[in-house]
Symmetry: none
Subunit: 327 residues, 2 copies
DNA sequence: TTGAAAGCGCTAACAC
DNA sequence: GTGTTAGCGCTTTCAA
């Protein structure tokens, strides 16, 4: 097996200098169309791929965007789909650090730092303010899915309170006046969703009715029991799974959804999309979140030193078949 | 902000040459105890950290193990859990290439190759023999989850046909005689699981009944519709996600699981272990597969040129609460 | 035991 | 427009 081709080989084959070949490869202006053509052909013929170590050494920059994600998280997978094109559009490569039960976020971060990435995207908002500040001293950091008070670094998250607000508006527009919410307890984001519900019903002068829950199907079913016998005409669940439990309990006792009671979930998970579930729910726009987060991270990598930005994206309602006009 | 200290700075401060300092930093033998002492002190005083890019450039090795995985695949997440410690134990770092609907395996491979990884782990067995041979010409490749005939590269996979066979045996032992399977379509591994099902039902003289599917919950739910009205007493799904769709569709139409219909998944993913799913399923030993695959890949990276190895691990049935004696 | 010198593959100045 | 030159920070001969 022969040595990998270097820029020198490409230049020799194309009959130009290494400098010219380098410019062509990097799409810099300078070389004539004829030179470009021949260098391109030579590179293709040789299967030339630039050596990142040499580039890094010379440029003093890695062109790498580090992304810490959770391997099993479907929403993170959606985010990654958006991260790759956004980073590549700006000439950065993505280097991934997986977090799993067997691998802590700290390990993932350490590995990414060792790769000399120029900025770090933290998916999942799992770090506290102090740790974020520590990391930010090493490299620009963007906290994706940040909850709570604005922290010391750029953050991108969806405005869950507004998402729930939109769900309530939808129900009000359908004529509902008795709208209950199944709470999400201590789960991340639950407080914000609860606040959104409270604000929205208050805005419309409607009664507030919250029953406890914990994002599971079982808790959704239990919530229905807790609401009896005075069932509302609409139930908001803190997430889709819980909503499915609500649906299940209602239908089991012969109550028509959406004819008698409307149900709305949260997350637009696969579950919500099942043909026979077909749940009205609130979706976060993963692509948009990813695009904005990457933009912020790379702006920092390229020298932006403005105050930390805190961006909240408005999620949108996905109307399916579990909501209808109030009976 | 001052420049990072280089080896030259350390050497100057210690009053030795860069060569000597290099030896000390890498714990190579040669330098005298006195030199070691002074270089160590100088490095500590300066907070010196070797530049990996320069080391790589000079050494001509990246110390990287590339891993192509599918972002949404729970089993791949389990494999990654095993890959990291195995690679790190041998002094390699792991560099990940994600495959998703928006990013092809070829792109992921290209990115990893560009990072100059010394070996490649392909999770998911999605490449054919020719492509594998092409890749293997660039870098040692281990095909994890390989199906079919032994290919041109090392392969580690679980014997999915035996896994499905064990699932059928379990059902037969419970008295089931009408056992259907929800297929996995073109998904990697599906053909082998289908073959295992066919062989097992034939062995017992039972009728064969296969409905199409594609490893999603939606397809599991659809499969139940396709099986109506003549529902079997047991349904085997090509993976856990699909099985959850099956469970969901059955329960939603009031059919008791496992009282009326038994359901078995495949993969023993986190999903199967959730308390309210508690799915009987077939488990592959992800940790063992990962360990063996990493070992093979790094052996190759370090010069092993023996014939391609083909390792098949036997999966085992995990009985939970979705299977019971036939009604 | 130590140091001088020669690059690894690439890019940035500067000259032509 | 293109080539020459001089390193980036490190390791590795090879002499001393």
């Amino acid at each position: 097996m022969s040595r990998r081709p270097t820029l020198k080989d490409v230049a020799a084959l194309a009959g130009v200098s290494r400098a010219t070949a380098s410019l062509v490869i990097r799409d810099e202006r300078g070389p004539s169309a004829a030179s470009r053509e021949r260098v391109r052909a030579a590179a293709a013929a040789l299967g030339y791929v630039p050596d990142p170590a040499a580039q890094l050494l010379r440029r003093g920059r890695s062109g790498l965007l580090g992304v810490v994600f959770t391997a099993r998280d479907a929403f993170h997978a959606d985010l990654l789909d958006g991260v790759y094109p956004a980073a590549e559009a700006r000439g950065f490569s993505v280097v991934l650090g997986a977090v799993s039960p067997a691998r802590t976020a700290d390990r993932a971060v350490a590995a990414l730092l060792a790769s000399r990435c120029e900025a770090l995207l933290l998916l999942g908002g799992r770090y506290g303010a102090e740790r974020l500040a520590e990391l930010a001293a090493e490299v620009p950091v963007v906290d994706v899915g940040h909850v709570g008070e604005p922290g010391p670094v750029d953050a991108v998250a969806s405005a869950d309170d507004e998402g729930v607000g939109a769900a309530v508006e939808h129900l009000v527009a359908l004529g509902h006046t008795a709208i209950a919410m199944v709470d999400g307890g201590e789960q991340p984001g639950a407080a914000q969703r609860r606040a959104g519900y409270r604000a929205a019903v208050r805005r419309h002068g409607l009664p507030e009715r919250i029953v406890p829950g914990d994002n599971t199907e079982v808790s959704g079913a239990a919530a229905v029991e807790a609401l009896r016998p005075d069932l509302p005409t609409a139930i908001l669940a803190n997430n889709d799974q819980c909503a499915v439990g609500v649906l299940d309990a209602l239908r089991r006792s012969g109550i028509g959804v959406p004819e008698q009671v409307s149900v709305i979930g949260y997350d637009d998970s696969q579950l919500a999309r099942l043909a026979h579930v077909d749940l009205t729910t609130v979706a976060q726009d993963a692509g948009e979140i990813a695009r904005i987060a990457v933009g912020a991270a790379l702006d920092r990598a390229e020298g932006d030193t403005s105050e930390p930005k805190h961006i909240r994206l408005t999620p949108h309602l996905v109307v399916r078949s579990t909501t209808a006009p109030a009976p």
